[in-house]
């Protein structure tokens, strides 16, 4: 169909999109030809989602040009994207569980489609691309893979020429992923183009003819992934950052956190950690790509979820695996989860109320259930002052504060307790540069005072700056922690992608 001289289906030229404090997409060029399967690779925060939203009509670029079959287009809304022939399959499903497959598909269509015509089109699509689906089955009975097939069918019904899939394999079993790949290959053989967004190297190497790699909002390379090793691509994704060996020499104290034989479920995730020891004066980082059970690990360490045995987690030598958060806090531990609004802070409470959340074990603020509000108010004011929290009044609801200011407040709340152990998940997530620097400094200051610190983060730069040792979590399995100097960036990238697990930790089955 496509003559060699024909322009590519889609080209992006010099696309930029800025958000306050960050350039999410910086001068991006990208080309998709008919029948191509393009892999879009990058770490979290590399700019993949922003780029995808621009193509889907959810965001408008600040600069640059989008050419569709050689002609400039402005994708002002999702409707425009659909109209010109771009289909999206989102990472999160938007399906009505109580309705059948056919009803869910019908809902996505503009205008009334006669039932029979719809069924015929459904059957044609599912046959052609191996998307086996029973139209009459209610959605709640389906597996994640089947639900995703509904989303793919929905996206295919308007007959798009370009199909974008955002992290499609993150919810699939390996077998379901294999089926998805077969479908995608058939779609490509039909002349449709596919953009496959992922952070899993081996998948992109198996599926894609071209890969565009983003780092820090810029395109760092476009290559044929099959001709490169996983190590080479990992290095492109992560950059050749100097693995700093400059560590402030802190004396290493006793182990204050010990994890051994932890194997517990929390929510939908299973966490396994065989051996982790964090000593006083030491910062241990836990690296990993989003969605690898980091939050589940946090919940187990903090006591919001109980572990598989009291002895699996020890704080200051005491077994606490079956203890809730406050007994752990009494031993000198402090915890800080990833979510601010609704987890580490109550959005409707003022700073005074929020100062109490992790201080219920402090006798100065509460005795036998009676709260000493005046003291708390002074304490909240003191935290706000020493951590430079800008607020419009201590009783104003926490949700009125900016992310950075609220994060400084909750970090300050934990650090003023001078904990012996701090477990923190994503300490600078969604925080502006200034506040992030202030928070990292405060964490290092705490380590200087011989506290043991665990930093769970998806930001490798942050971990490399802060940590003495690094472990990697992939699919809930925690690798042994090794000194930062012993890690190479390749090994780190591979471990994060799940490609390199030491035999002892290899998943059974």
């Amino acid at each position: 169909m496509t003559a060699p001289a024909a322009p590519p289906l889609l080209s992006l030229r010099n696309i930029s999109r800025r958000f306050p404090g960050v350039i999410a997409n910086d001068d991006i060029d990208l080309t998709v030809r008919s029948g191509d399967i393009l892999g879009l690779l990058g770490e979290n925060g590399a700019g993949k989602s922003t780029l995808m939203k621009i193509l889907a009509g959810l965001l408008v670029p600040d600069d640059g040009q989008i050419l569709w079959k050689g002609k400039p287009v402005a994708i002002r809304s999702p409707a425009v994207a659909r109209q010109i022939g771009i289909g999206m399959v989102h990472q999160h499903f938007a399906l009505f569980d109580g309705m059948t497959v056919a009803e869910n598909v019908a809902l996505s269509l503009p205008g009334a489609v006669p039932g029979r015509a719809l069924e015929a089109r459904l059957a044609a699509l599912t046959d052609a691309y191996g998307l086996s689906l029973d139209p009459g089955q209610p959605v709640f009975t389906l597996s994640a893979g089947e639900k995703q097939r509904i989303e793919i069918v929905r996206a295919l019904l308007p007959d798009p020429e370009l199909l974008i899939l955002d992290e499609p394999t993150s919810v699939l079993t390996p077998q379901e992923a294999e089926q998805l790949f077969a479908t995608l290959r058939r779609l490509a053989a039909d002349g449709r183009s596919i953009v496959f967004i992922s952070h899993k190297l081996d998948e992109v190497r198996r599926l894609c003819s071209t890969a565009t790699i983003l780092r820090g909002g810029r395109v760092v390379a476009t290559c044929d992934p099959r001709t490169h090793t996983a190590e080479e691509i990992a290095e492109l994704m992560l950059g050749s950052r100097p693995l700093s060996t400059r560590r402030s020499e802190r004396p290493r104290g006793d182990p204050l956190l010990s994890v051994a034989g932890l194997d517990a479920k929390s929510g939908d995730s299973r966490v396994r950690a065989d051996d982790l020891q964090v000593h006083g004066g030491e910062i241990v980082g836990i690296a990993g790509v989003a969605g690898n059970a980091q939050s589940a690990l946090y919940r187990l360490l903090s006591g919001e979820e109980l572990a598989n045995g009291a002895g699996t987690i020890a704080i200051c030598g005491r077994p606490v695996g079956r203890s809730r958060p406050n007994p752990r806090r009494r031993l000198g531990a402090a915890f800080l989860p990833e979510e601010r609004l609704g987890h580490s802070a109550a959005p409707d409470f003022g700073l005074t109320g929020n100062a109490l959340l992790s201080n219920l074990t402090t006798p100065a603020f509460q005795r036998r259930g009676w709260i000493f509000w005046p003291r708390l108010r002074r304490h909240a004011g003191h935290i706000a002052e020493s951590y430079d929290v800008r607020h419009g009044g201590l009783e104003r609801p926490a949700r009125s504060l900016s992310g950075g200011n609220l994060q400084k407040f909750v970090v300050g709340r934990e650090l003023t307790k001078a904990p012996r152990l701090l477990v923190v998940n994503q300490p600078t997530w969604g925080v502006d540069m200034g506040a992030a620097g202030r928070i990292r400094q405060a964490i290092q200051g705490l380590a200087q005072q011989q506290a043991a610190i665990v930093v769970i983060s998806q930001d490798l730069d942050e971990l490399l700056e802060l940590c003495d040792r690094l472990a990697v979590i992939h699919d809930g399995v925690l690798s042994p922690a090794r000194p930062v100097a012993e890690w190479t960036i390749d090994a780190l990238g591979l471990a994060m992608a799940g490609a390199d697990q030491p035999p002892a930790l290899k998943r059974a089955g």
Partner: protein, 361 residues
């Protein structure tokens, strides 16, 4: 098609106007209703509106009816804030009365005030025990407390029938299903002679203060507020939801049980097969009308009590039948809730777009 869109900041005048409109619409509705029944509408409305405040006796009746509503609604409101749906206060109220009577009979119904407080405590504990069942079923088996607490109302009624028809039936009752009367000493003292204003009123007022303080000043209140607005932060603070379920059900049961015991020791004086009177269900409405806030609940309880007394009066003075009086009372609730809804939400017309139509006909 229409839909409701929340107003972010309803202006104060709209709330005031809403309440006034609700009262005006109720009166209009009542006028039409009574006229249709062949009654002089303005006269009936006049009796309904003025008689509940026309004498000390009537005010006493108003307080007597509002008291248990306020007490029960206070307890329920705490649970509702924490998303614990105890709708079985009627059963806990009955158990409170049965428990108090059981205590009185067990100690021989002596004519001494010394056992009055222990009797009220016994009723409170009985209500708590009844509410502990849904708490246990919820925390151990994840059974919805909404269903189990409601079903236990009917069990409580059967238990009541058993004691008044059989176990504790008075030998002097000529076959009526009732127990012996409580002794004078076990009856709550009347505060204003000639009226129904009794010492239970002091307990109700104390409960209002206690609940208000509990919510503002204690970690229990913090737990409830967190359960309401930020369950994740509740877990972060180290509160466990199962404990919240237990505490709020026990508190709700205790206050409903106490209300039952107070009514037994004042209005009822003995158990018969009609104990309950629907207070436990009406209190659910009172709790929501009062926006789950202690002061609001006092106002809502008084308002609902007012309609009870006014409703009784129009039955007596104009022979308005029970059903019509009930419909009129209910219309007030209807209009108040409607005005409340329309103050907080505005109605938007949704133009039917073919895109949202169901294709498979």
């Amino acid at each position: 098609m229409i839909r409701l869109v929340p107003r972010l900041h309803p202006p104060w005048w709209m709330q005031a106007f809403g309440s006034a409109a609700a009262v005006a619409l109720t009166l209009l509705f009542g006028a039409i209703l009574f006229a249709a029944l062949g009654q002089p509408p303005l006269e009936v409305l006049g009796v309904f509106l003025t008689r509940p405040l026309s004498s000390l006796i009537d005010i006493g009746d108003l307080l007597q009816k509002s008291g248990p509503l306020i007490l029960i609604a206070l307890g329920l409101s705490v649970g509702y804030r924490a998303n614990v749906w105890n709708i079985g206060a009627e059963g806990q109220f009955i158990l409170g009365a049965v428990g108090a009577m059981g205590f009185a009979l067990a100690v021989g119904n002596p004519d001494t005030g010394a056992l009055l407080v222990p009797m009220l405590v016994a009723g409170t504990l009985a209500g708590m025990m009844w509410a502990a069942v849904p708490a246990l079923l919820r925390t151990a088996f994840n059974a919805s407390e909404l269903l189990t607490s409601l079903m236990l109302v009917y069990v409580a009624q059967q238990l009541l029938y058993f004691v008044v028809h059989q176990a504790w039936k008075s030998p002097f009752a000529f076959g009526w299903p009732e127990t012996v009367a409580l002794s004078e000493g076990l009856t709550l003292p009347v505060l204003v002679s000639g009226t129904h204003i009794h010492a239970g009123l002091i307990i109700v007022l104390a409960a209002v203060v206690v609940v208000a303080v509990l919510m503002r000043q204690t970690t229990f209140g913090l737990r409830i507020q967190l359960a309401q607005s930020a369950p994740g932060a509740m877990r972060f603070a180290g509160f466990h939801h199962n404990q919240t379920v237990w505490l709020s059900l026990l508190l709700g049961g205790a206050m409903a049980g106490l209300a039952g015991a107070i009514e037994l020791a004042s209005t009822f004086g003995k158990l018969d097969d009609k104990v309950g009177l629907g207070y436990g269900f009406t209190a659910i409405i009172v709790a929501f009308l009062g926006r789950l806030h202690p002061v609001g609940i006092v106002a809502a309880g008084l308002a609902v009590g007012y309609t009870f007394v006014g409703g009784d009066w129009i039955k007596v003075s104009h022979g308005v039948n029970d059903a019509a009086a009930d419909v009129f009372q209910a219309s007030l609730l209807f209009f108040v809730l409607a005005s409340d809804l329309l103050t907080r939400y505005r109605i938007e017309r949704v133009v039917r777009r073919p895109a949202r139509e169901h294709p498979a006909e």
